[in-house]
Amino acid sequence: MVQILSFSLLAAGVALMLIAAVGVVRFPDLFMRIHCSAKSPSLGVGLIMLGAALYFDDITVSSKAAVIVMFIMVTSPVGAHVLARAAYFAGVPLWRETLSDELRDHYDLKTHELGRPGATPARRPRPPQPDL
């Protein structure tokens, strides 16, 4: 009974990760790929580790699994945020159907400072983007 439950948790996690992988290949621009690669692995690893903890049913194993889940839950959004910020700063183009971009022109490319909307624009605006 517990085995069935643990294996179905594992299967759910694996399916989620496979779907995310398809998304990472299919989605049109980098930011949407980050949407895929940040959310699904955190929940997927969570489900897999829960399944493993149920399967082994031992305090040392389940505490280890809990530590892994906590660690992934903290680091995966931070990693996504850091990568997305760096990519935007490096000028990676947005998808051509993106409706609006309120972050545009707010960066100061020299000092890496970021203003808020309504403040004076940065000295050098973002270069025009190649079509994706």
């Binding site: 643990s6 294996f7 594992l10 299967a11 996690g13 694996v14 399916a15 990760m17 496979l18 995310a20 992988a21 398809v22 990472v24 290949v25 980098l30 790929r33 980050i34 895929c36 690669s37 692995p41 955190s42 997927g44 690893v45 897999i48 580790m49 399944g51 493993a52 399967y55 082994f56 031992d58 040392t60 194993v61 280890k64 699994a65 530590v67 892994i68 660690f71 992934i72 680091t75 995966s76 931070v78 990693g79 996504a80 850091v82 990568l83 910020r85 760096a86 990519a87 700063f89 490096a90 000028g91 990676v92 183009p93 890496h112 270069p127 025009p128 983007q129 190649p130």
Partner: protein, 89 residues
């Protein structure tokens, strides 16, 4: 048997990650693909530990999660602060 099928599915997912790694038009795309592959491998260790019935592999997952995160942060730092401009107008 069922566990082996799960491992195969995860392997397929990792291969798709490699497709993005090879195709991704710029360095930031490749960094995202690497970050994604790292978290897939953490999941892989979890499933593998259950399939071979050896909980030691969870330690491997823990270390991989740590190293993968550090790699991601280092890549992002490099993209933002150094290197050539990745997109020129």
């Amino acid at each position: 048997m069922f566990g082996t099928a799960l491992l195969g599915m995860l392997g397929l997912a990792i291969m798709l990650g490699f497709v993005r790694l090879a195709r991704g038009p710029s360095l930031p795309d490749r960094a995202v693909a690497l970050d994604f592959i790292a978290s897939l491998v953490v999941g892989f260790t979890g499933v593998f530990a259950v399939v071979v019935d050896a909980p030691v592999f969870l330690d491997l997952g823990l270390v991989l999660a740590l190293v993968g995160f550090l790699g991601t942060v280092a890549f992002a730092r490099y993209i933002e602060k150094g290197g050539p401009p990745w997109y020129k107008s």
